[in-house]
């Protein structure tokens, strides 16, 4: 049974078609890279599955249930979404993380400080980053903070939208390795060929 299924999904903005009749089926553990030139709606496709874009055609099911406004909240809770735009919050990084784990559904997942530091080391971020203002971090640092948050949330299905842009080579390999060498499911939007080098990766082209 596929985890996520798209049937004839089409999206247009102001009578201009962005994509038409997309059919996709994603099983647990799949790694799918969505590629294609910019402006073909890659980001929109992810947002649409998360219920952020109204008015598309076709049908999307998650765990064999059609996604509606009733179960979209559950779908969102199951997916670790890292957006291309890293403007995800403000204030001190430590506080930002704390606020996320004060949301009702995440309280039980509250990580111990040791786990946070461990992940910061793993993704080569200074521990002092926790005390810095999120908005003052570099693009690459923001991306890594977002990655760490999604891991701390213990999601096992990831939507990764251009998460490797702005990362240096070594960190990039760490990040890609983390997602590819696990049994997580992931939909990846990236121009980076590095993802495609991994075994078992599927590709979906949008034109």
């Amino acid at each position: 049974m596929p985890l996520l299924e798209l049937n004839n999904v089409s999206l247009s903005f102001k009578d201009q078609s962005l994509f038409e009749n997309i059919n996709l089926s994603i099983n647990k553990g799949d790694k799918l890279v969505i590629s294609g030139p910019s402006g073909t709606g890659k980001t929109s496709l992810l947002k649409l599955i998360l219920g952020f874009i109204p008015g598309f055609e076709g049908q999307i099911s998650f765990q064999n249930e059609t996604i509606t406004h009733h179960n979209i909240w559950k779908v969102r809770r199951s997916i670790g979404y890292i957006s291309q735009d890293s403007d995800i919050g403000e204030g001190k990084v430590g506080q930002l993380i704390e606020d996320i784990f004060s949301l009702k559904v995440n309280i039980k997942l509250k990580p111990d400080p040791g786990k946070i530091k461990e992940l910061f080391h793993f993704f080569r971020l200074e521990e002092s980053t926790l005390a810095k203002d999120f908005e003052e971090l570099s693009g690459g640092e923001k991306k890594r903070v977002a990655i760490i948050i999604s891991i701390l949330l213990k999601r096992d299905f990831f939507f990764l939208d251009e998460i490797t842009s702005g990362l240096d080579d070594e960190v990039l390999k760490t990040v890609i390795g983390y997602f590819m060498e696990s049994d997580h499911t992931a939909i990846i939007i990236s121009h980076d060929k590095e993802w495609m080098k991994k075994q078992g990766v599927k590709e979906f082209k949008l034109n």
Partner: protein
């Protein structure tokens, strides 16, 4: 206990002072002459008409008409609030009206019943004058609060969507924007409150003193009125955001961009 009336000629002379800002505007070529003229004539004519109307209304002092007039004032205030926030009437007028009506009416009646212990709580002098005062003063804060709330969600759409993706409920996701809107709505009021009496002699106090009240009576009214305005401001900003949020977000919790004009 009578205030010196202003006769027609002095009234015209007083109004003619408007020529001073107009002269400056012309001299420095600021380009606001036309707008100044239109606005000041509107101000003059509207006030004269309202003056005539209120004279009649106060004479009549019919409870039903008084309350109807107050409701009409609340309606105009809600229209003005939505227009000045660049939002659409169709979706937001009713919830805004409800919010202003609930907050204004409850505080005005509390004021008339508990504080003033009036025999007729619908008395035009209190209901309309005090109601209008409270409404007018909380209107500005409501405009600031509501427009800042919606504009900042629109501007920070990515942050908002990110909150939803983290598992936030709609209420949890709007909370940071609500706090921001609320703060920007009440901050100027709180700052102003601290300077009352020293930097500014509020209009109401001036009016009462001119009308023959002792400064102490005027001050006591002022203290309770300012508090009432503050309460209505906070309650109405909260209610307006909560009530309008019901129709400005879709079932998926996403902001309906159709609420914005253009």
């Amino acid at each position: 206990m009578s205030t010196v009336d202003i006769n027609t000629l002095p009234l015209i002379i007083g109004f003619a002072l408007i020529l001073i800002p107009i002269a400056f505007s012309w001299w420095f070529n600021i380009g606001i002459i036309k707008r100044t003229l239109i606005a000041s004539f509107r101000m003059g004519i509207q006030l004269l008409l309202v003056g005539l109307f209120l004279e009649y209304l106060f004479e009549l002092n019919n409870s039903f008409i008084n309350i109807a007039w107050l409701m009409f004032m609340i309606l105009v205030a809600s229209v003005s609030m939505i227009r000045n926030s660049d939002l659409k009437y169709r979706i937001l007028l009713f919830p805004s009206f409800m919010s202003l009506a609930i907050s204004t009416l409850s505080v005005v009646f509390f004021f008339n019943i508990v504080i003033l212990n009036l025999e007729n709580i619908f008395d035009a002098k209190y209901l309309i004058a005090i109601g209008g005062m409270i409404l007018g003063n909380s209107l500005r804060s409501n405009i600031v609060g509501v427009s800042s709330f919606y504009k900042s969600i629109k501007r920070n759409e990515n942050r908002y969507h990110y909150q939803l993706s983290l598992g936030a409920t709609r209420l949890e996701a709007i909370l940071p924007f609500f706090r921001e809107g609320f703060k920007s709505a009440v901050n100027p009021f709180i700052a102003g409150m601290a300077t009352f009496g020293i930097v500014s002699i509020p209009g109401m106090m001036t009016g009462q003193i001119l009308g023959g009240s002792s400064p102490m009576v005027a001050v006591k009214y002022q203290i309770t009125i300012v508090t009432a305005i503050f309460v209505v401001t906070t309650v109405s900003v909260i209610l307006t955001i909560l009530f309008t949020a019901r129709s400005s977000f879709n079932a998926y919790g996403v902001l309906n961009k159709g609420i914005f004009k253009n």
